[in-house]
Amino acid sequence: MKKRYEMKVLTVDTIAKETIEMTLYQPEISQQTVPGQFLHLLVPGFTLRRPISIAKVHPKEGTVTILFKIVGDGTKALASYHPGMNVDVLGPSGNGFSIEDVKEGERILLVGGGIGVPPIYHLARRLSEKNVELVAVLGFQSKDYVFYEDAFKEIAETYVVTNDGSYGHQGFVTHVFPEVGKFNQYFSCGPLPMLRAVTTELKDTTGKVSLEERMGCGVGACMACVLPTVDNSYKKICSDGPVFSAQEVIL
């Protein structure tokens, strides 16, 4: 049976502009989760839960790390939490990145944009346990928003891109693809325009993308978070996704 958890807040840190890293204690979730899965957090005073991806787990310590950007009242309230408080959480939710068909020796492209970087980092750590070559392209608005560059560098050949060129390469993530060289498959998470550009650019390559939509239930029951698929039907981001084959969905 699925559960509802009280997760204790261990740390809350601002690691980039408007960007909070929060560590939570919950051994079960820490041990069960797959990269790409999310937590569905209840912030008191709000009707709906907030979906936030898991960025990192330390199963031994029983911790789960999330990263979020302050965009509205819910994330603002969450950012004001302090260590020792509890967060009401459902999860790990959704279907994450399946890495079973990643074969030894493959070269893998990871593309993260903004607050889409955290689940890609989780994935990168898992993939780094396999004998594969990782290339990460990370896009941010500007220098102030950059985070996790060093963490990525430890496990992947890393390119940082900022829209305004204030750090790393200038432009969009797709602009550095020519420099990246060949790769076997790709994984991506980020804002919709970025994912559209990435999937168009790489339309002939096997890829998986993680998507966002406003959610009602977050468990697959209400049909709020649907996405049209190429076979003229709908998939639910909260339960069929958030990760989909790039070939399967219409962005």
């Binding site: 049976m1 699925k2 559960k3 509802r4 209840l42 709000f46 009707t47 709906l48 839960r49 459902l90 939509e213 406003r214 959610m215 009602g216 239930c217 977050g218 468990v219 697959g220 029951a221 209400c222 049909m223 709020a224 978070c225 649907v226 996405l227 039907s233 709908y234 339960s239």
Partner: protein
Amino acid sequence: MNLEVTLPGLTLKNPIMPASGCFGFGKEYSEFYDLSRLGAVIMKAATQFERPGNPTPRVAETASGMLNAIGLQNPGVERIIADEVPRLAGYDTSIIANVAGSFLEEYVFVAEAFNEAKGVQALELNISCPNVKEGGIQFGTDPEMAKKVTAAVKEVSNLPVYVKLSPNVSNIVAMAKAVEEAGADGLSMINTLTGMQLHLPTGKPLIANQTGGLSGPAIKPIAIRMIYEVRQQVSIPIIGMGGISAAEDVLEFLQAGADAVAVGTANFQNPFACVDIIEALPETLTKYQYTSVQDVIDRRSVHV
């Protein structure tokens, strides 16, 4: 404590059921708890054919509430009867089918189809879905139309029919009386209030369908008022809903005139909402000196 209630066609072990559209066909919530604990399950709306629903975004959050414009996405009545009903019938709970449509013939078709669905014990006639553009809304705001569709469905159905009323009307009592006259076995109220939220950066409606249905605690005072008003003048049973999230809310609905209740939006905040409420209900009733659910119903004052 005895939580049982008896309504036309339904003997419920407790008065709590998930509201239509907020619980799918129960599959997802069955991963959180045993659905046999529920008084009944009201299934998501069924239409004649598969419906893809509205474009996204389909939901928005509001103060103590939410807007939705799912647009009746469902696989069509045949597949619901084939795929969903049998699984739900495996639980020791009652099944109520929510019947929707864009025109009278569709309601009749869907209602008739459920005659053959083993396990379905009642129909909830959704004449009020504000998200259906083609005409559903008219049934829900015009007493004559509501009468017509109720009578037509009663004519073909073997099952008790609960008509779900829209709160977007000047006179809820007129609507209730109309469907009672047309032979409705019960009422289900309230559906959502039509609302809108704008996306400030664009100045356009946030929900792709423009308007959405407002649900959640924000609408509870309107639901209570409407149920109270209807209860003074109409005698068929009422399944009450609109913002229920705790056992106290259930008591308030029963006192106002409901005979059972449905829980919608609260499931999204707390997937255990229905069972948490069922668990808390005996203590709440005791606190207010009631000995059973039926006791609340018996002792409420109808001030005609």
